[in-house]
């Protein structure tokens, strides 16, 4: 197995996984292109998760046609909060988180009129956030992060990225929003990457893109040493997710909801390599160790 994965011994001298090697020896070798759609189209991801009884934010509606926007929206009136997102979006683009106050919809403290919401959904369907490709619009349950995350930084939705190879979790990272990342947890948008001890779920080092830190830069709360709740369940959930998708190398994004507990947000066939910085470990050596 190890030999098949990393051909020659010479490559073992370095433990860090680079983009070339990730593409050639993990993505191309482990994932068939026809299966990419399970990750690239979030409505497909959710369909598989739901049919296997795996926890993910509840889908309120899936809109494919402009003509359905108004009638579908009318049925959503009962909900007091929801998320509107493009099925094929990337990097968090096009996501609208709405909360209802006094029968009006708000994004944060900004009131959003119904016409703006309809226009946004139409934009999603036109493919504005999936670059020319026509898209579907997912309207789903709004996640309320577990109070644990409030102790670290009270804004945005943090998520846990887990890399699995051959259905085994090999490396994990907590992605924390900052004021610079505008509520998003993506590393290249200014979020923080926090390494996680795979056995215990204890947070190790935090990488802010240029240096390692121990406290959150905005809230100044201690990160290092904190223990993620429900860690065993998260590990089990990610193993199950890896079993139901035909992708042998992927990144699973998990959120912990206050009520639902660990829940799958999305999966990724091309997970980034920054996770190595957060964990101060090379992915290559971890994969070899975990799959031994």
């Amino acid at each position: 197995m190890i030999k098949r994965l990393f051909g020659s011994k010479k490559n073992l001298t370095t433990s860090v996984l680079g983009i070339n090697q990730r593409n050639v020896e993990l993505i191309y070798k482990y994932n068939q292109r026809k299966h990419y759609k399970y990750a690239d189209d979030k409505s497909e991801t959710k369909r598989i998760l739901e049919s296997n009884g795996l926890s993910c934010p509840k889908t309120y509606a899936l809109i494919s046609n402009i003509g359905d926007i108004e009638s579908t929206w009318a049925e959503l009136d009962q909900h007091s909060s929801l998320v509107i997102k493009p099925a094929k979006g990337s990097g968090g683009g096009g996501i609208l988180v709405l909360k209802k106050v006094n029968n009006e919809w708000f994004q944060g403290s900004k009131e959003i009129p119904q016409t703006t919401i309809f226009f946004h959904i139409a934009n999603i369907l036109f493919g504005v956030f999936s670059f020319g490709d026509t898209d579907k619009c997912i309207i789903e349950e709004c996640i309320t992060p577990h109070p644990f995350f409030g102790q670290l930084y009270p804004k945005g939705v943090p998520d846990i990225r887990i890399i699995t190879v051959e259905r085994k979790p090999v490396m994990a990272m907590l992605r924390l929003p900052t004021s610079a990342s505008d509520g998003k947890a993506n590393l290249h948008q200014g979020g923080l990457g926090v390494g996680i001890d795979m056995e215990t779920g204890i947070l190790t080092d935090t990488y802010d893109g240029s240096k390692f830190i121990t406290h959150h830069p905005d809230s100044h709360n201690l990160i290092t040493g904190m223990k993620i709740p429900d860690w065993d369940e998260i590990m089990k959930l990610s193993t199950k997710v890896a079993e139901v998708f035909p992708l042998n190398y992927m990144g699973i994004d998990i959120v912990i909801d206050k009520k639902m507990g660990p829940s799958i947000l999305e999966i990724n066939v091309r997970p980034g390599l920054g996770i190595q910085m957060a964990n101060k470990k090379g992915l290559k050596s971890e994969i070899i160790r975990k799959l031994k």
């Binding site: 070339n20 090697q21 934009n123 390599l273 090379g282």
Partner: protein, 508 residues
């Protein structure tokens, strides 16, 4: 995979080696050696009249090789020149022809900067080439005065003197008159064609006692024409050094200059009482194209069909450019807009000129970056948004190109549609990146794309590389083979060493 890659690399290299080994020495070399076929095509007509027509037949020299074909006249010598003559009785129309092959070398003479005028006078035995004639009035006061002005006694070396004379005559305005202009008339009018300028330059040399003479010939190109050309030789040290004061060749003669005679002669002499018309019919072929075992001989294709060389060259350069880009992306780790785009932008810059292209283009990028703000604020859909940006680009281009042509920064004959389309494509990608990521990230990728582009411009502009690929198009397979290896190369990219550098100490 490996077998395929090795085959793609080794077989073309073997074929290239065989072609090099099996070709004659004269067929080798990457710098083109043009071989010309020249035909004197004379038409004469008269009724029952004796006639004689004489002209010059080129001779072999150190820089030109002539292979004549048999002809109906006779060959003879007049001083240092070889002449041919047809004579006899003419009744009706008659065609006279003389055909030969010409191969020339580009000759550059390095004038020894230590030779002084004094020593030249002492040792020169070329008395014939120092006297004034009625067309080369080297003893005229005006010429002598000009000579003193251009080269006062303080200027001692022949290199400086010839340079000063040459520059003066070269900078004088040119015309294309056919009429015979003597040295003095050329100076008085301060305007002359090749023969007037040449006589003036010869007169200036002779005014200092430096042996100098006219040289007559034809500039060879693919054409049928009447125009002949004249230039100058001056004896400096032991060497006759060439100067073309019309076309600005100082101490050099281009490879396509056919030399026919030395001295101030008429090219053709004929009996007065016959009607006469003439043409020089010239066709060119590349002589050194490694013809042995050439599966596809592109030089032959270029010479013998209407296939233009430029687009062919661009097609051959495309795989090399794409290979360079893949090295930059996968080995160095630079991010670029698209795979082919840096190569195509390089082509655009090669057409427009790098500085002009870079300036023109950077303003487009700035324009798009600025336009993105209002368009994003108004929530304009992607495709109409890009269209608005391209409208702005088109408008800006019209203004800029107008300015460029007005100021003469751009050659108006350049076909600019192709560069503009490429640069527009690039600006669309830039706009997309601004939207997808941020203006900062887009600028970052733009700078990296330009870096790769400038390297491409530098490599792809090389005439040597272009000639190599036209001569050995099979080398393209080598790029394919190298790309296969590159596609399986899994080492860290240079930029990743920087990115993950902090980890190296932590690792087992």
């Amino acid at each position: 995979m490996k077998t395929t890659a090795y085959t793609l690399i080794i077989f073309p290299l073997l074929l290239i080696s065989v072609r090099i080994l099996m070709s004659e020495p004269t067929e080798r070399g990457l710098t083109p050696i043009q071989q010309f076929e020249v035909l004197y095509d004379f038409d004469i007509e008269a009724e029952n009249t004796p006639f004689a027509i004489s002209t010059f037949a080129p001779a072999n020299t150190i820089r030109q090789t002539i292979i004549p074909e048999p002809f109906s006249g006779r060959t003879w010598f007049e001083e240092e020149n070889q002449k041919i003559t047809w004579e006899g009785m003419l009744d009706g129309k008659k065609k006279l022809s003389y055909r030969f092959q010409f191969t020339g070398k580009h000759l550059i003479v390095n004038i020894d900067p230590t030779i002084k005028l004094e020593s030249q006078r002492k040792f020169s035995n070329e008395k014939n080439w120092t006297f004034p004639t009625h067309l080369i009035q080297s003893n005229d006061d005006k010429i002598l005065e000009l000579s003193r002005q251009l080269a006062p006694d303080s200027v001692e070396t022949l290199r400086e003197i010839s340079s000063s004379f040459f520059e003066f005559v070269y900078q004088m305005p040119s015309n294309s008159t056919d009429e015979l202009t003597d040295a003095l008339t050329a100076l008085d009018r301060f305007e002359a064609s090749c023969n007037g300028k040449s006589r003036l330059l010869v007169a200036l040399f002779r005014s200092k006692g430096i042996p100098a003479r006219m040289v007559g010939g034809i500039i060879l190109d693919n054409s049928r024409k009447k125009t002949s050309h004249g230039w100058v030789e001056a004896k400096i040290g032991d060497t006759w050094v060439p100067f073309d004061p019309l076309n600005g060749h100082f101490a050099e003669v281009p490879a396509n200059y056919l030399e026919l005679h030395k001295g101030d002669n008429f090219l053709i002499r004929r009996s007065k009482d016959i009607s006469f018309d003439y043409f020089y019919e010239i066709s060119s072929d590349r002589a050194n194209h490694y013809p042995s075992y050439a599966l596809v001989n592109l030089w032959e294709v270029i010479d013998h069909t209407d296939l233009p060389q430029k687009p062919l060259t661009l097609l051959l350069l495309l795989p090399l450019g794409a290979f360079l880009v893949s090295v930059f992306k996968n080995v160095v780790g630079l991010k670029t807009f698209g795979v082919f785009l840096p190569v195509l932008i390089a082509f655009a810059f090669m057409e427009m000129g790098t500085i002009i292209g870079l300036g023109y283009f950077s303003i487009i990028i700035l324009l798009i970056g600025l336009l993105n703000y209002p368009l994003e604020k108004w929530g304009i859909l992607h495709t109409p948004k890009i269209s608005v940006m391209l409208t702005a680009v088109a408008f800006y281009s019209i203004i800029t190109l107008y300015i460029f042509f007005k100021t003469g920064w751009l050659d108006p004959t350049k076909a600019l549609v192709f560069p503009i389309i490429i640069l527009t494509m690039m600006s669309e990608r830039f706009a997309r990146k601004v939207e997808e990521d941020s203006p900062k990230e887009a600028l970052n990728v733009y700078i990296q794309t330009l870096t790769v582009t400038l390297v491409c411009v530098w490599v792809l502009s090389s005439t040597l590389i272009q000639n190599f690929l036209i001569t050995f198009p099979e080398f393209l397979f080598v790029f394919a083979g190298l790309n296969l290896f590159l596609g399986k190369w899994i080492g860290l990219r240079f930029t990743e060493y920087a990115r993950f550098g902090k980890l190296s100490g932590v690792q087992s």
